[in-house]
């Protein structure tokens, strides 16, 4: 489904964010990308839909090389790739329905979208997805009137409206409380299985990731240092990914974990216990 070869990104500042990354994600697989802040997780998924231009390497989606495509072909590629953001990235002054329908923008012309004249099938689909994420009564609410968990559901619905083959998820739970985090993760993983989507989830909460995903990839300083099943994350491997730390409490049940900060990876891994 998604095929990355030798993907490298060096920023204008000279920082090497991605160093020769090879990664293949088959359809239906939910993959968690873990690693310390600045390891290049965010850069990696933004390279896939070309919000960030890779310096070298190739990106293939379903066999099509999309590394260098421009204009209309880039739009065609992007609409096959749904993206879910850490801070929801809703357009707060638009209603829930408009936010969800914005997932169809690549399928309709400018004036049609400007006057909100989306095809009937799109609106019906938006409604079905909103029903699926439990927000069908909120179609007319404005984005800024929703709670964090509701906003993220709208973000998920928007991504699904694209009928994507691939879903990129950037720290979906970093701004949410533990209970909502688990609900959102469960929802994302169920939807991916239902629709047979290849999915990459950036996540810093290892315990949460282990509960839901099929495969874990550890990134350190822009390079893959672990690729395997979630059960394979031994303390030694976590040390390779994150550096020296006491990992003995990592695997305990994380129902009571605290809301965690993106920057504070250690605290999250320790499940809130100092």
């Amino acid at each position: 489904m998604l095929d990355l070869k030798g993907l490298t990104k060096r920023y204008a500042t000279g920082d090497l964010a991605l160093d020769n990354v090879d990664l293949t994600v088959p359809a239906g697989q939910v993959l968690a990308l873990i690693g310390p802040s600045g390891a290049g997780k965010s850069t990696l998924i933004r390279c896939v839909n070309r919000l960030v231009e890779p310096t070298s390497g190739t990106i293939k989606l379903d066999g099509d090389d999309i590394t260098k495509v421009r204009g209309n072909r880039l739009r065609q590629a992007r609409r096959q790739i749904g993206m879910i953001f850490q801070n929801y990235a809703l357009v707060e002054r638009l209603s829930v329905m408009e936010n969800v329908l914005s997932g169809r923008l690549a399928y309709v012309g400018f004036w049609r979208s400007y006057f909100r004249k989306f095809p009937q099938s799109d609106i019906a689909q938006a409604f079905r997805i909103l029903e699926r994420v439990g927000l069908e009564t909120m179609i007319d609410k404005r984005g800024d009137a929703l709670s964090g968990g509701q906003k993220q559901r709208v973000g998920i619905a928007r991504a699904l409206m694209q009928n994507p083959k691939l879903l990129l998820v950037d720290e979906p739970t970093a701004s949410l409380d533990p209970k909502t985090s688990r609900q959102i993760m469960r929802l994302i993983c169920e939807l991916c299985t239902e629709q047979n989507l290849a999915t990459i989830i950036n996540i810093h909460d290892v315990a949460l990731a282990q509960q839901f995903v099929h495969r874990v990839v550890g990134l350190r300083a822009g390079a893959i240092v672990y690729d395997g099943p979630p059960e394979g994350l031994t303390p030694e491997i976590l040390t390779t990914i994150y550096g020296e730390e006491d990992w003995t409490t990592t695997h305990k049940d994380s129902d009571d974990e605290e809301k965690s900060d993106k920057k504070d990876v250690e605290a999250a891994l320790l499940g809130g216990h100092p």
């Binding site: 953001f85 357009v91 638009l94 914005s102 997932g103 923008l105 690549a106 400018f110 979208s113 400007y114």
Partner: protein, 264 residues
């Protein structure tokens, strides 16, 4: 050893501040001297007499002309409103060219910024004088003058608003595969709409004030009547015009405040 003395600033910084003040005062005195040299101070000795007689002739205002001022007042409001509309129409796309995050090309950005600063630097009255020499006296000259001045004001505030939007919704809409215009319409436009409405009404309020004077140079509106009254030294009529302007401005300020309160 003497006891430590608390000082707010280091001595060097304190001296620099004193020097700054000293230079400032000297510059002020120098400027004042230049002005003083160009002033006939004898006129000032009877300024209070002049002022008293001026005010004496203004009070009471000559209300008899109020009726004949209604049409010019209507013209004034039209100059401001149509001028604002025209100015906003041009300023809106210009702001997108001038904002760092939406401009298609740096050269276009420089061009847009050039237009904005030129428009901002030149007062509506100067535009009006120019336009009257070109297209003749009348409302049209006034409307265009107001529009030309509004472009820079609205353009500047609007492009600053565009540069301050949250970038994440833009990223999100871009990642759906939306086209350039769709990204602007769905992620930038909703974010700047309240600011845009507020800026427009604010400028309209300013334009009401400015359009009251355009008649002085022949560009239509109540200023024409004011000019005629001043030339005839009919200060009672001038006072009536002043009262009308004052009332109109108070009303427009109230409307503008209401609308801005509603949209923000």
């Amino acid at each position: 050893m003497t006891a430590p003395v608390w000082q707010r600033r280091t001595p060097a910084r304190q001296y620099a501040i004193w020097l700054g003040w000293f230079l400032g005062v000297m510059l002020f005195l120098l400027c004042f001297k230049i002005i003083s040299d160009n002033t006939i101070w004898e006129f000032l000795t009877d300024a209070h007499v002049q002022a008293a007689s001026l005010i004496g002739r203004m009070v009471p205002p000559d209300w008899s002309i109020t009726g004949s001022l209604m049409l010019p007042l209507w013209d004034t409001i039209n100059i401001a409103t149509v001028g604002t509309a025209l100015g906003v129409l041009i300023a809106f796309p210009l702001a997108f060219l001038a904002a760092r995050n939406t401009t298609p090309h740096p050269a276009l950005r420089a061009f847009a910024l050039g237009i904005i600063v030129s428009s901002r630097s030149i007062n509506a009255l100067i535009w009006a004088i120019l336009l009257v020499t070109m297209i003749g006296p009348g409302l049209l000259a006034g409307m265009i003058a107001i529009a030309l001045r509004s472009i820079g004001f609205v353009g500047k505030l609007l492009y600053e608003a565009i540069e301050e939007i949250q970038p994440t919704p833009v990223e999100a809409i871009t990642s759906t595969g939306a086209g350039r215009m769709q990204v602007l319409a769905f992620s930038v436009l909703p974010q700047i709409m309240p600011a845009f409405a507020g800026i427009t009404v604010y400028r309209w309020d300013i334009n009401i004030r400015e359009s009251t004077t355009l008649g002085l140079v022949g560009a239509g509106g109540i200023g024409l009547q004011m000019n005629a009254a001043i030339n005839n030294l009919a200060w009672g009529q001038v006072a009536t015009v002043f009262v009308l302007i004052f009332g109109t401005v108070i009303v427009s300020e109230w409307v503008s405040a209401k609308v801005r309160h509603a949209v923000i």
